[in-house]
Symmetry: C2
């Protein structure tokens, strides 16, 4: 094992932990499983982190910070507001289908944070980030179509996140693509109904 500065090890361990969590769930993310995934020794773990909790804390912060806005950058063209939203949802659904375990892991991390004393703020941070991303996407979409929201965009953003969350959970349970498509149609219609030509 080559010598690696502690800071880099921390990063490598966080990445390894993320892989383990995604493929095997939060419960399986033991210190040993994580160091095995990272190809390190157990001692390196506690040299880089003082405890497993510290790792989990940093893991959640990491995923929150790196939550890609993979959904928003759509080629707008001259699509309607409704179609832009629908396309964005479709991109998210494609992402979900491509890597279901990843989104399942995000949900698990949120719940783990909600259950762990002192980590609730991290869950709030995570969702604040979601809301911000959603609000940015919705604002851009409205601008491109010359519409304005009849509600504060923050509220619309929350609706989008709520719908996305619900969509995720239900699809993860039964993997029903047709039902998911139906939900997305409804969501796009309903959200677009909150825009007014201006």
């Amino acid at each position: 094992m080559p010598r690696i500065p502690a800071a880099e090890r921390r990063a490598a361990l966080v990445q390894a932990a993320l892989r383990v969590v995604a493929t095997q769930g939060v419960a399986a993310a033991t210190t040993r499983a994580i160091v095995a995934e990272a190809g390190m020794s157990l001692a390196s773990f506690h040299y880089a982190f003082s405890s497993r909790d510290e790792l989990m804390h940093e893991l959640i912060s990491f995923v929150v910070a790196h939550e890609e806005a993979a959904v928003l950058p759509g080629p707008y063209g001259d699509a309607s507001l409704r179609d832009i939203i629908r396309a964005g949802l479709q991109r998210y659904a494609d992402l979900l289908r491509a890597d279901p375990l990843r989104e399942q892991a995000m949900l698990e991390l949120t719940q783990q944070a909600l259950r762990s004393e002192g980590m609730e703020p991290l869950a709030r941070l995570q969702y604040d980030h979601y809301y911000t991303l959603a609000a940015a996407a919705l604002t851009t979409a409205a601008e491109h179509t010359g519409t304005s929201w009849i509600l504060p965009v923050e509220e619309v953003a929350r609706l989008l996140v709520v719908l996305t969350d619900g969509l995720t959970v239900s699809w993860l349970v039964d993997r029903d693509d047709a039902a998911a498509a139906s939900v997305m149609d409804f969501a796009a219609d309903a959200l677009a109904g909150l825009g007014r030509q201006s």
Copy 2:
């Protein structure tokens, strides 16, 4: 410890497990924690159940079967479809506020089922049950207001569940009652929009 037939012990252990899961999470629901909650010895556990997995299996079945339709029985009067839906959502939200840990536990149980080899069907069963409850409520609501759904009621039911799930997760994270109310207003409007006077 009085003598209790195994069947009753099973039921008592399931109830105790539910209390532990609700108050401390799925991870804390160890055999020892459960028997302590039930006031039994560890041996009684493995006399009634052959394994912890068997208990968890029965626990999920139990909560699915007893998921009260606490949301549907509203005094309809001559309220509009929109108002009936809104009131139903409010009753659910009240339930959620009254016992957040319970709903959080339901989510955890779903995820635990999704992660556990061979328990995925239970998660599907759980959501099938939700969909059935929602469909029944929506059908009744439509009848009382002389409307009919422009989509199959099963699809509307799924939308309702999706919205409820998303609402639950977001409220659990930030406990923002005002935001939840806004979401419920939107959901009621959007769902009522799927009904046509007939």
